[in-house]
């Protein structure tokens, strides 16, 4: 009998530890920002009157910090820790691991600086400007090289299901990020996307939805399949089910993006496809949840006492709830009610707090004592955190359900004479402000729990009596030949490259089918000669609109429902946003839709509104924007902006580009002259408020003219026929 030769090796423990520390720091920052923006909606004064601290600038920072800094660092910690053990090999390169860690932290710092400064692409969860986008791609490639390099030197032939989920994450996030971020730079901190309007919306929500799927979900399912068996010391309930779970999830998830665009101007067939695939997601999601929960069978008594299991079990339960609610919200008629309301915000947080925060807490309570070879400092504190987080989250979800459903019913209420019962949007806001206070209190509880965990884990580390690197032994994997009796699946699993290519194809097909037709064919995005490009001054105003993050509160998309048409005007058409780079349809109406706000109010109304919203809309919760009246706008970069737009297909002539600075000056003069009748000084013409007014007054004007001309034409034809 041949004796098996054992190889000695160690695991890189330092890298997961670094990512654990980063998770604690950025988790605190992300939650603190979340609590801050929650209070800003409860009381506008919390915006603090400074441009860097308004809701429009902090909300993107909160979402980026929560997704990429908090969840991202936790994901890397878990992946690096578990992958080494699952393949019984040390990381491919400690050096690449360090570059990955510090590179990722630098990207987060860059985001923390640029977003409050208003440097943004105004695409949700993809706000960061092009140099940071490139840095993300580079660091992600370094991560991929280190990960796949580790798989290449593995001692375990079989690739456990957790690693399948990690592979899907690495490949899909790279694909989503690169495709969505393609843009043409104007300068170092400004770019315009190559996609416009409907196309940009489709690409963005293909990305946005799958950022949830492949950044917040698939890596954590991989972690679930590793850490739950570890914590209960028993294997996953059904490995067969995990295979079905994996392939169905990665294949179906990628198709679901268009459910963010239901009842909008995107083609109907894309909306229906997105909705159907979202409903199909019920099956794999619940298959995974059941598999996770049943792994705990026989250990339920420990869930009551062990904080690790308590967090992990709750996390999987919230995963089940969130993935039940998600497909429900993706049904077109339910979306008609829930979209643009706080119901969606509540749903998102049931996932990020219920699934990610709870899972991360469970993993950290497992990892830190293990990596520092000590016991948890205080089980009592961990239990306190659990109840604070659970109660906080329930307060959050219930208040947002109540706020969302209440506001939606108020928006859509029509009386027997066919008029809106609540024609003033502000009436529907005032009614839900108490819910904003409840949500903010819920957030404080979640944050407090997190602070307790930071203290608990620091004290745990302090208790450690020094760590000595552990040495492990395993037989080498023989890569020189396939096993004689290997099944086809066994062979496939042994081939990381082929497996990765199949995963790539599974996720690619959905994106290609849903997006490519709209990119290459005019059949799905009609053109309208009456829709003209923005004037140079309006373009400057649009960039200010983007800088201030106005899209975080105001949508620009009227849906074809009776109440929306009554409130805002005719439903938006695809042709109306063909020059919108980026599209600004938004995802939440904290304030009213502004797709057709042009001409609705006079210039002075907008002037006063931006200076003090409550002067024209009593009880408004919008922040004040005094800096728009003190800061001069940049005219110098205008010709370059128009040139970039022209390169992207916007029909600006060379003459228009050459005279853009003069033309902008003239339009600014005219607007300010009009305002001067009400006492506004002419020197205001060079301040940011003027282009912003120009942009707002343009919104929906071309569309309205086009509809009027179409109507006149139809009437003339009818008269001629008579």
């Amino acid at each position: 009998m041949n004796e098996v030769k054992m190889e000695k090796f160690t695991y890189d423990e330092n890298l997961p530890k670094l990512f654990v520390f980063a998770t604690l720091i950025w988790g605190f920052v992300a939650l603190l920002l979340g609590v801050t923006v929650a209070f800003q909606l409860a009381s506008w004064k919390v915006n603090m009157g400074m441009e860097w601290t308004t809701f429009g600038r902090l909300r993107p920072l909160h979402t980026n910090a929560a997704i990429f800094a908090f969840v991202g660092n936790a994901m890397f910690a878990g992946i690096y820790y578990s992958t080494q053990r699952l393949v019984k090999a040390r990381l491919f390169s400690d050096f690449l691991g360090k570059i990955h860690f510090w590179g990722w932290q630098l990207i987060i710092v860059a985001a923390a600086i640029t977003l409050p400064l208003g440097i943004s692409q105004a695409k949700e969860y993809a706000e960061l400007e092009w140099p940071i986008d490139i840095a993300i791609a580079v660091v992600w490639i370094i991560f991929a090289v280190n990960f796949f390099g580790t798989l290449a030197k593995r001692r375990e032939k079989h690739i456990y299901v957790s690693i399948w989920f990690y592979i899907a994450t690495i490949i899909t996030v790279a694909l989503l990020h690169v495709v969505n971020a393609i843009s043409l730079p104007v300068d170092l901190m400004k770019s315009y996307p190559v996609y416009a309007g409907v196309q940009d919306a489709l690409v963005q929500w293909w990305y946005g939805h799958n950022a949830v799927a492949f950044f917040l979900t698939t890596p954590f399912l991989g972690l679930m399949y590793y850490f739950i068996p570890k914590a209960v010391n028993r294997p996953v309930y059904s490995y067969r089910l995990s295979i079905i779970h994996f392939w169905s999830l990665v294949f179906i998830y990628i198709w679901a993006g268009p459910h963010h665009l239901l009842n909008t101007a995107v083609p109907d067939w894309v909306q229906t496809t997105g909705m159907v695939f979202s409903i199909m997601l019920w099956m794999p999601s619940w298959g995974g949840m059941i598999n996770g929960l049943l792994t705990l069978r026989g250990a339920w008594d420990k869930v009551r006492t062990d904080p690790v299991l308590k967090f992990l079990a709750t996390s999987v339960t919230f995963y089940g709830m969130a993935t039940f609610e998600g497909p429900l919200l993706a049904i077109k008629s339910v979306s008609a009610m829930a979209h643009y309301t706080d119901w969606i915000v509540g749903h998102v947080h049931s996932g990020t707090i219920g699934w990610n925060y709870m899972m991360i807490s469970g993993i950290l309570y497992y990892l830190v004592p293990k990596m520092y070879e000590t016991k948890l400092h205080s089980v009592k504190l961990a239990n306190t955190q659990f109840w604070l987080a659970t109660i906080g989250l329930l307060l959050y979800m219930m208040s947002m359900w109540t706020a969302g459903i209440t506001q939606s019913l108020m928006w859509s209420a029509i009386d027997e004479t066919g008029k809106l019962v609540y024609p003033n949007f502000i009436e529907t806001v005032v009614r839900i402000v108490p819910m904003y206070w409840v949500r903010a209190i819920g957030g404080v509880l979640v944050l407090t729990g997190f602070v307790l965990m930071i203290y608990n884990l620091i004290m745990t580390i302090k208790k450690s009596k020094g760590i000595q690197e552990l040495e492990y032994m395993a037989p080498p994997a023989d890569h020189s030949h396939e096993e004689a009796n290997a099944t086809k699946h066994r062979k496939l699993e042994g081939m990381t490259t082929v497996f990765s290519i199949l995963t790539f194809l599974a996720v690619l097909v959905g994106g290609v089918v849903e997006i490519v037709p709209s990119l290459v064919s005019d059949k799905f995005v009609e053109r309208d000669a009456e829709i003209k490009p923005y004037s140079p001054l309006e373009l400057i105003g649009r960039d200010i609109f983007i800088k201030e993050g106005c899209y975080t509160c105001h949508s620009q998309q009227v849906r074809p429902m009776a109440d929306e048409i009554l409130r805002y005007g005719p439903a938006s058409r695809a042709s109306e946003s063909v020059y919108d780079r980026p599209f600004q349809w938004g995802s939440r109406r904290i304030g009213p839709d502004i797709a057709r706000v042009g001409g609705k109010y006079n210039d002075m109304w907008h002037y006063r509104h931006m200076l003090n919203p409550r002067e024209v809309t009593p009880k408004s919760i919008m922040p004040i924007y005094p800096w728009l009246f003190k800061k001069k706008y940049n005219l110098k970069s205008l010709p370059k902006k128009l040139k970039v737009m022209k390169a992207l297909g916007v029909p600006y002539s060379e003459e228009e580009i050459a005279s853009s600075i003069n033309d902008a000056g003239k339009q600014a003069f005219e607007i300010t002259k009009g305002l001067s009748a009400d006492g506004v000084a002419m020197k205001m013409q060079s301040m940011e408020i003027i282009p912003l007014i120009a942009y707002l007054q343009r919104l929906g004007v071309d569309g309205a003219r086009s509809l009027r001309l179409q109507k006149e034409k139809a009437e003339n034809e009818e008269n001629n026929d008579d």
């Binding site: 010391n233 295979i243 690197e469 040495e471």
Partner: protein
Amino acid sequence: MIKDLIMSSNYSLLQSIVTISFVALFVGMLIWINRKGSDSYYKKAQNLALEEGVKNGKK
């Protein structure tokens, strides 16, 4: 050419083909993972999370 092809395609037929393919793929996967003699293989695979090599003491 791609543009023409996309604009002139018969989508109703394509939708039927795609739906049938997806269902067939899924049913095929169900049958395949429950194939005869795979029990021992899956049993070994599902235990991998609990292994991390043999501890050889402190380095």
